[in-house]
């Protein structure tokens, strides 16, 4: 058994075992670093379609070939719906690229800005609505 299927299985198991809603409401500035943009590529393993923010959990294979679970904060479900994203828009297992901002504590947590699918389609995650910095790319600006 190669390492990748193993870590994938472990990652999926962990995603299922995670508590239902472990993320208290917070402001962008309280948890995320506007000076620490990042880009992550990984497979979606868990979607929390909840208020006040939706969360997308992805499994990222790092440079050592080890799977890491990252949790990405999106906007409110209403914001995402207005941008054309519903809870079924991205299937579990879909590989996505996330542009966002790293957590201040440098945990595997980020505020999502955009999701890019393999087809090149880009989806705005509504992160500005949580207080994330605006860079001119926000829809409607």
């Amino acid at each position: 058994m190669s390492i990748k299927p193993f870590v994938t299985t472990v990652g999926l198991a962990l995603s299922i075992l995670l508590p239902a809603q472990p993320h208290a409401h917070h402001a962008f500035g309280a948890e995320f670093d506007a000076q620490a943009p990042l880009t992550l590529r990984g497979s979606v393993v868990r979607i929390e379609w909840v208020n006040p923010h939706a969360w997308f959990h992805i499994e990222v294979i790092n440079s050592d070939g080890v799977a890491e679970l990252w949790r990405i904060e999106g906007g409110t479900p209403n914001t995402l719906l207005r941008r054309g994203i519903n809870k079924r828009s991205i299937a579990i297992g879909t590989e996505i690229i996330v542009d966002g901002y790293h957590a201040k504590d440098r945990s595997n947590s980020a505020n999502g800005r955009n999701i890019t699918l393999a087809s090149g389609e880009k989806m705005f995650m509504g992160s500005s609505g949580t207080g994330a910095p605006k860079d001119g790319a926000d829809p409607g600006r």
């Binding site: 409401h25 379609w49 006040p52």
Partner: protein
């Protein structure tokens, strides 16, 4: 836990001088008190707005938000809505606290102005009552929508009144 929530809800209703049966869902009563009347008001403030947010509104709103929505994994979709009468009743208590908090925010000495502050607080009352009705009807979709409305009100108020933080303010 539920007894604690019920006690808190009853305490809040007592504080603001109304009972759940006196106010129909979707309606809010307009306070006749003015922000500047704190000195002559019979109300005795038991905490500032920050305390109301952290100790009263936040836990109640979190309970509503945690009780509606979906968790999707490879194993399937799990709905967060309560599955028992006790669970729905617990959400009703949380919603009652949210509604009552809107009135607490309008109390003389706590209200910041007579205009937008009062409107936003009344909107919070309405949103709490919507959540209360949704929980009473065991309507998960309506509860989810009411939760969205509660957050929109929180965010609008923070944007308007938390100086220097704008949209970054947290309840």
């Amino acid at each position: 836990m539920i007894r604690t929530r019920l006690s808190l809800a009853l305490l809040l209703f007592t504080l603001i001088g109304c009972s759940p049966s006196e106010q129909a869902p979707g309606q809010s009563q307009t306070s006749q008190s003015q922000p500047g009347q704190a000195a002559s008001s019979p109300f005795k403030l038991s905490g500032d707005t920050k305390h109301i947010m952290q100790w009263v509104l936040d836990p109640a709103a979190d309970h509503i938000w945690d009780s509606a929505g979906s968790i999707i994994t490879a194993a399937g979709t799990r709905e967060l809505a309560p599955t028992t009468e006790e669970g729905w009743l617990s959400v009703q208590y949380g919603a009652a606290v949210v509604a009552a908090t809107g009135n607490l925010l309008m109390m003389p000495g706590r209200a910041v102005d007579d205009k937008d502050w009062q409107k936003t607080s009344q909107a919070l009352v309405d949103a709490g009552l919507l959540a209360q009705s949704a929980a009473k009807a065991h309507d998960a979709d309506a509860l989810f929508d009411a939760g969205s409305q509660i957050y929109r009100i929180c965010k609008a108020c923070h944007s308007a009144y938390i100086q220097g933080e704008k949209a970054e303010g947290s309840p």
